[in-house]
């Protein structure tokens, strides 16, 4: 996959050798780089090259994570953030997929929703946060509603296009073989559209996490975002970096889980996925 010069035929053996070496560097290099960077970071703060206020030592940050874990605060924060993200994501996924399928099928709905959805997709939905605070208050309802609203356009459009681009011949043959509309939906359209729908969900998920964090920063009510902003207010930089580490890990694990779920559920489909 990577760019390289065509190996000269005369040195095939050494080309294979250098290829193996190259693969090794490609695989292990990232770990080495991360380790070196963390070591430099640690050394710089131990030797006081940077103010610990601006950049606390890695060890300090890790110790802080351990303390927060032991006191249970970490679990509460991660739990709250995950709950809001997943609740919003789940509602957006269910409503978005249903709406998308309906729009693909019913011409009247398509007439109404096409302009609304294509106008809604590119606007920065997060700008409506104060409106949501006004309508739904400061608690979980308004946070989750904000997440749903931010993610749903993406999911509707992905589902709609997925259902729209299912090959007409498949639907026609199913229908001529006497399949009911219900069977066509569940046994033809949905399976054929599933990979694209899932890609839409994979694009929407990081957005849900972003919006949850911002709502927590603005409205409080525990969660990683709330804690991070409070730590910034009290200029508690180890706590701040701990938050960044944690949310990075949460994001990484969630994205990996979605990819795993994709392979699990859509394993029969040709490889592809979020990168396409």
């Amino acid at each position: 996959m990577t760019l390289r010069k065509a190996p000269a035929a005369s040195s095939a053996g050494s080309a294979v050798q250098s290829e193996i070496w190259r693969r090794r560097v490609d695989f292990w290099g990232p770990f080495v780089t991360i380790a070196i960077l963390l070591a430099i970071w640690e050394a710089a703060s131990q030797m006081r090259l940077v103010t610990p206020f601006l950049l606390p030592a890695v060890s300090t940050v890790l110790a802080r994570i351990a303390t927060d874990f032991a006191s249970g605060k970490l679990l509460i924060d991660v739990g709250m953030t995950l709950y809001r993200t997943l609740a919003g994501f789940g509602i957006a996924a269910i409503c978005g997929v249903i709406l998308g399928l309906l729009i693909a099928r019913v011409a009247g709905l398509r007439w109404f929703f096409d302009p609304v959805v294509s106008a809604g997709l590119p606007i920065p939905k997060i700008a409506l946060m104060p409106v949501f605070m006004l309508w739904f208050g400061l608690f979980d309802a308004s946070k989750i509603a904000m997440v749903v609203f931010s993610a749903i356009f993406q999911i509707i459009i992905a589902t709609w296009w997925a259902a729209h681009s299912v090959e007409k011949e498949l639907v026609w043959s199913a229908r001529s073989l006497g399949a009911s509309e219900r069977q066509i939906l569940f046994e033809v359209t949905l399976p054929a559209a599933a990979p694209q729908i899932f890609t839409g969900l994979q694009v929407a998920f990081p957005l849900c996490l972003i919006v949850t964090l911002v709502t927590e920063m603005l409205m409080g009510g525990e969660g990683i975002g709330d804690t991070m902003l409070q730590n910034a207010r009290y200029v508690d930089s180890p706590g701040l970096f701990a938050g960044i580490f944690i949310i990075g890990a949460v994001g990484y694990i969630c994205i990996a889980l979605l990819e795993w779920l994709r392979r699990r559920l859509l394993g029969w489909q040709a490889a592809g996925g979020a990168s396409e």
Partner: protein
């Protein structure tokens, strides 16, 4: 259907929603505190708050533009270098992989303690957020280029710099444009989110202040204006991309 009729047919649902908004507010079905009538929101653009609103929106958009002006060239260069040179890949790719799954808004508190609450912190936040999708797309675009194109160019005697400029960049362009579009959407989110959380000016800050002061028509006008700006920028970029890609086959 004529062009005008089809345009009207497309605009009609939005007009219906607008009319519904106006009606619901005027008829007193919802309190004006929760939803001011559309007409009174639009009146803000001609009223006493309009100068302030346009000025602060301008400030926000300039921040976004400066950040994008850095993020686009840096992102493209970094993405192509990561695909092209193994040493660069080994150093930069892990950083990219760490940054990629992290919601960039998590960096808002960090930019505050490092860079304060002014322009510098906002611009760097948008820069970092916009950089990641651009680097990823340039990397993927450069990686997926057909080997034969490169071999052909080289065997015809092209220098490396020429191969980069004349073969690789054009081949990766569609992917890169997609990445920049994603980055633009993210930039708008970060402009607004950053200013909501903490700022001393900008449209996000203004929306916040007006919300706290109970100036709801003005607050809605701010929301409407930045949403319209996000929409307009996206449309303009799509038009620009299709011009840049015009005449291509795929």
């Amino acid at each position: 259907m004529s062009a005008a009729a089809s345009l009207f047919s497309r605009a009609a649902p939005l007009l219906i929603l607008a009319a519904l908004w106006e009606f619901v507010a005027r008829a007193g079905i919802v309190s004006p505190g929760a939803l001011p009538a559309l007409s009174s929101v639009l009146a803000v653009f001609a009223g006493e708050f309009s100068r302030e609103l346009f000025y602060h929106t301008w400030l926000s958009l300039v921040r976004g533009a400066i950040a994008m002006a850095f993020a686009i060239p840096f992102g493209i260069a970094a993405g192509i270098l990561i695909a092209w040179y193994l040493p660069v890949r080994v150093v930069l790719n892990p950083l990219l992989q760490c940054l990629y799954p992290m919601p960039k808004v998590a960096l808002i508190p960090l930019t505050i303690i490092w860079l304060g609450i002014g322009n510098l912190s906002k611009i760097s936040l948008i820069f970092v957020g916009a950089l990641v999708p651009i680097v990823m797309s340039a990397y993927q675009g450069a990686r997926s280029i057909e080997q034969t194109l490169l071999w052909t160019a080289r065997s015809l005697g092209a220098r490396e710099s020429e191969v980069l400029r004349e073969v690789l960049l054009p081949a990766a362009l569609p992917e890169i444009l997609n990445g920049v579009r994603t980055a633009l959407a993210l930039a708008f989110i970060l402009i607004v989110a950053g200013e909501f959380v903490i700022a001393n000016n900008g449209v996000g800050n203004l929306i916040n202040l007006w919300g706290q002061a109970g100036q709801y028509p003005a607050m809605f006008a701010g929301v409407l204006l930045i949403s319209a700006a996000g929409f307009a920028v996206d449309r303009a970029f799509v038009a620009l991309s299709s011009r840049m890609l015009a005449g291509r086959q795929s």
